[in-house]
Amino acid sequence: MIAIASNSRRVRRIEGVIFWLLRLATYFILACATYIFLDIGIKGSRTVFTSTPPFINLPFLTEPPQTLYVFAYEGKKMTLSDRQFRQWKVEHAGTEVEASSIAYSAGGIWPCIVGTALLVIGSMALALGIGISSAIYLSEYSRNGRLIRLVRIAILNLAGVPSIVFGLFGFGLFVIFFGWNVSLIAGWFTLGLMVLPAIITASEESLRAVPQGLREGSLALGASKWQTIRKNVLPYAMPGILTSSILGIARVAGETAPIMFTAAYAMKDEMPWQVAHWTDFFFQGVMALPYHIYVVSSKIPQNEYTERVQYGSAFVFLFLVMLIALTSIVLRERSRSRLSW
């Protein structure tokens, strides 16, 4: 009896310790996330929002990055963007000033937003096309043989490959071997390959979630296999495929490593649509948000003037990713309520 009593006391003590360990781990994550969001939110909103109408810093969102010029003039400290500085020099002709220049720290991030959007659209179109096709093959057509098991293992392994390896692979294959140079199309293929495993897995799951009875019902009415898939399986799997793909979008938009060798330019003066010939569109490098954040926070000398762009870009970037995630949740809830079996 005594032994049992002491044992139960020990069990209770362990129970209490475990409870607090688990609880602390959870709160630790919460604290980290809160710190990151608050830091970026507060400092970033100083760049993105203004105290006067329209309350949003439109030039930051609609202008290309510019070099910031800082100098003293008549006892005042001036901070002017490239364009403003040139105009100022015209207005104050004859005045010599000693200006220090800080790269990318004035102007905005418009080309980066556009570039990221282009990279996302192209790579997702590619990944969805290939991914859904192979998911249909795997879940509807293939027999579970040794080869298919091998394919599945390959897909799983592909999902585990670090993104920098994808970047180098894309650099070797698309940029150098295919001779596409640093270009949108090389970025599309590299990013597309990177999210392919996630898309195949998600699509296969969505396809499998469609009840077998719907396939049999359709086949029993004299539909061919492809007719059955197209009319009575894929339409019901599509919402699931698309919502899980939206999370893939967040990944494609966010990765820096795959595009730094294949598609991203640190600075480019023309917008992507300013090309001589339409085919040039695919073979041009673009600016991209994650790469821009990387450049402004590690490739230029840091000082009190660089923070503005760093936090502003991070804030816009986080906001976009959150928007994508939110869309995916809303879409999922909608499709769930419409299709239930």
């Binding site: 009840p211 009875g213 019902g217 359709s218 086949l219 029993a220 009415l221 004299g222 539909a223 009319k231």
Partner: protein
């Protein structure tokens, strides 16, 4: 091909009571002849030497305890077992209107259009009632609106559902009750004008009132269609079938008129099953 009449003596020790052997010359629309059929899932043999002639425009019930192969046999009739990788007919043949349905040249899509199927679990598509019934027609390439409209109305009338749904043809089939869903599936099968309708325990998930409606429907449909129904429910077989086949452990034990099977079966196993001593 050998007709049932010319067939050699069945080597199986079990005596099969064929009601009326059908001579080859009288090939009827919707007639099914199964001959010495063996069927395996991988190494596991599910059907042993089944020989059976299913008469046209009548209701034939397959009865027997779970696992006796009756559903497997039913699914052989429209080659639904093709969907299962390891499942094969290893011997024998199935002829519908005299044509071996497993012959290499047979178009399985065409076969399934002629041999409709209603499943145990009602499986309306997540589409409107109208689109559910029109599905088979559209698949078959019918595009003319008036033709589809007519066929949908006709099928819904045949399945005794028209009066209940005519005002809400464009709402989802999922909004219907269980019994209505099953009748919708029957309407969907009838819309492509099959010759044979296979029913795999169509009432197992329905309440008694819905069951009575579907059974009434089955009795009406036999005017036009050959109906094969798998059922666990002895009373149901008794109420709505003309012929009954009793299966046990993958073998056809007895096949005869339903009245005969239920009043005076020739085999002891049949009698024991029917009186509820096993199964």
């Amino acid at each position: 091909m050998v007709s049932v009449a010319e067939m050699p003596e069945i080597t199986s020790p079990i005596i099969v009571n064929q009601p009326e052997p059908i001579p080859k010359s009288e090939i009827e629309r919707g007639m099914i002849e199964i001959e010495q059929l063996d069927f395996k899932y991988g190494a596991h043999q599910v059907l042993h030497d089944v020989t059976l002639s299913i008469p046209a425009r009548a209701v034939t019930a397959f009865i027997g305890p779970s696992g006796c192969g009756k559903t497997t046999l039913l699914r052989c009739l429209n080659r639904m077992n093709d969907l299962i990788d390891s499942a094969h007919i290893t011997r024998g043949s199935i002829r519908i209107e005299g044509i071996d349905i497993n012959a290499p040249g047979v178009d399985v899509v065409d076969l399934r259009r002629r041999v409709g199927m209603v499943f145990q679990k009602s499986n309306p598509f997540p589409k409107s009632i109208f689109d559910n019934v029109a599905y088979g027609l559209r698949i078959a390439g019918v595009t003319k609106r008036t033709l589809i409209d007519e066929a949908v109305e006709k099928s819904l009338r045949s399945s005794a559902l028209w009066e209940e749904v005519k005002d809400r043809l464009h709402v989802s089939g999922y909004g219907l009750s269980g019994g209505q869903q099953q009748r919708l599936c029957i309407a969907r099968a009838l819309a492509v004008e099959p010759e044979i309708v296979l029913m795999d325990e169509p009432c197992s998930a329905l309440d008694p009132i819905a069951t009575a409606k579907v059974e009434e429907l089955i009795r009406q449909l036999k005017e036009q269609y050959t109906i094969v129904i798998v059922t666990h429910n002895m009373q149901q077989a008794g109420r709505c079938s003309d012929h009954t086949a009793f299966f046990y452990l993958g073998r056809l034990i007895e096949f005869d008129g339903t009245a005969k099977i239920f009043s005076n079966p020739a085999q002891r196993q049949t009698e024991e099953y029917i009186t509820g001593r096993f199964g």
